[in-house]
Amino acid sequence: MTLSILFISIFTLAACGGNGDNDLQEGEVALTFWNIFTGPDGQVMRGMVDDFNDEYDGEIRVSTQTIPETDFYDVFNTSVPQGEGPDIAIMHMRRIAQYAELGMLNAFEDMIDADEMGENYLDAAWDGGSFEGIQYGIPLDVHPIGLYYNKDILDEAGIDVPTTYDELVAACEELEGVVDHCMPVSNTWPSQNLFISSLFQHGGSDLDENHYPAFNTQEGYDALKVFHDMVYEDNISIPNVTVDEDLTLFRQGNAAFHINGIWMLNGIKESGVNFGTSSIDTLFGDEQPAVWADSHNFVMPYQPGMSEEKEEAIMTFIEYITANAMEWVEGGQFPADLSLLESEAFENLEYHSTFADVDAITFTTTSPYLEDGFEPIFLRVTQAMRNEDADIQELLDDAESEGIELVDEATGR
């Protein structure tokens, strides 16, 4: 009994000191900002928001709420339709078309000159935030995937970093006996993003103009076959690699290569492996250089009637953050703002500059039905990697018919 009383009193005492928000001053505009940046990323973003609040003290005050990425859309879907959403939020660019079409986003339309402002940002990232000609998103960053390689292992085997599929196959042959695993690839996440890169590199596409699946083509076939071959023909990856297992093997120094996003940069730095980065833009196919990326965008969730002051404050905030995003970039992102992207500071970042060929960065099609029409293929990518006797054409057909059904279901409303 005394023990528990002791516990309770310790905790009560230690609990003094939550995080209180300061009160608003006269004439200050209050903005609520929801983002998905938890953990260390969150600290960087908070630092930037604090800097902003300091600089605009008395004029604008931004309060942040962080929601873990996996649950963000649950919270969004609950709060926003009932009018309890924030003034600004971070959303993945690939979702913008869908939420815009549902009426859950306010447009930046009247607040900016879209063409003029678009000049400041990477074209593909700016266009991705536009739906039916109206701008709903302003990009904060771009996060592509790229190749992490173990320098010590490659040196020991005396090989260069592969940039094409044939080079990769050859490299794995050379590496036999030098390292346990060449390039293990998880057959669930992030294989989707690798597949998308492969699809575009083979000249294939995700959706057509009617939002229907467009991947059931010869190009799609070749793109998918690569994943089967990586496991069962060319010994690039062992079968049945589960999510994060590939990452762990690389971090332990038991794998020569690992493909993952730029966001993993710090995680890999901390593992102590002596590594380098390289672009995967021609690694799977040779039709067209392409690297999958998504982008975190600023969006304005649906809110009835926003005052002009708030609108101005929002623009001020967004422009400030995107222009000062260098620290954010260092945490494991590419900037979307061209002035940063082309700056010397960025060029000098050790791992970023080689990570992805910026011109090859390709986003998925902007469509409200992207998830309906395209997502079914991801399960089949997993199946291609899991089953030695996978029938590639059958997988494509299945994915296509499921995609068509889902798109019809969605548009038929």
Binding site: S4, F7, A14, A15, G18, D21, F37, G39, G42, V75
Partner: protein, 279 residues
Amino acid sequence: MALKAVEDKKKRISFWILSIVSIVWILPIIWVISTSFKTESEAVSGGLNLIPREFTFESYRYIFTDDQHNVLFYVFNSFRAAGLHVFFYLIVASLAAYAYGILQFKGRDKMFWMLVATMMIPVVMNLVPLYSLMITFEWINSLQALVVPGLGGVFGIFLLRQFNLGIPRDIIESAQIDGANHFQIYWRLILPLTKPALVVVALFAFMANWNEYLWPLVVLNDDTYRTLPVGLALMQGNYNIYYSRLMAATTVSMIPVMAIFMVAQRYFIKGITMTGSKG
């Protein structure tokens, strides 16, 4: 004499069986605690060693000095919300269990089983209507939002009622003959007799509230009442899993609840009447 020998033999056999099973049982937990004392790179390397090669407090230091998130504060909030919830739930549930288990009235069982049936249909879309209720009551970002909605839970009533059914009717009838009204029977007779069950319900209700994640995430806007599961999730990055820190946070969150459990164990004593009135 002979009976005592049988007793001792039972205890010995039981001890050995339980020991073997519990060692295997506890291994993952030992792993959690041990990982919390490892360096991050050793944690990732995933070796089998339960004793850290390099013992360090670095993960604990990290979570306790995180200036954005105060773990102890979150623990306190969780305690407060769960404690209040349990307090009210025990009252509400035991009263109802008395009605459905001890009292006799028309339609009693039908009503009771309908309540149980409601537990069987998963309420999937409860987030949206509950949230709109919170807006109506102006309970968004409040303590009530964490404590009250769960008070309608049926599981506690179900369990307590089952225990109530086992109480011999003659005890109740003799109390009534002695002039006790139902509330007095409830308070002075039934509650003490079903103490172990009450403790179990308290424990379950506490854990259910303590581990709630999605609801506090949706209904709370800032740190004022933020509970531990949400707080811990916010301390983790979305992709980079820092195993050692995560295990440290997990260990910290285990301690207060374990303390409660040790206290609750006291109440798993023999029912007072059972050994007495029979025979």
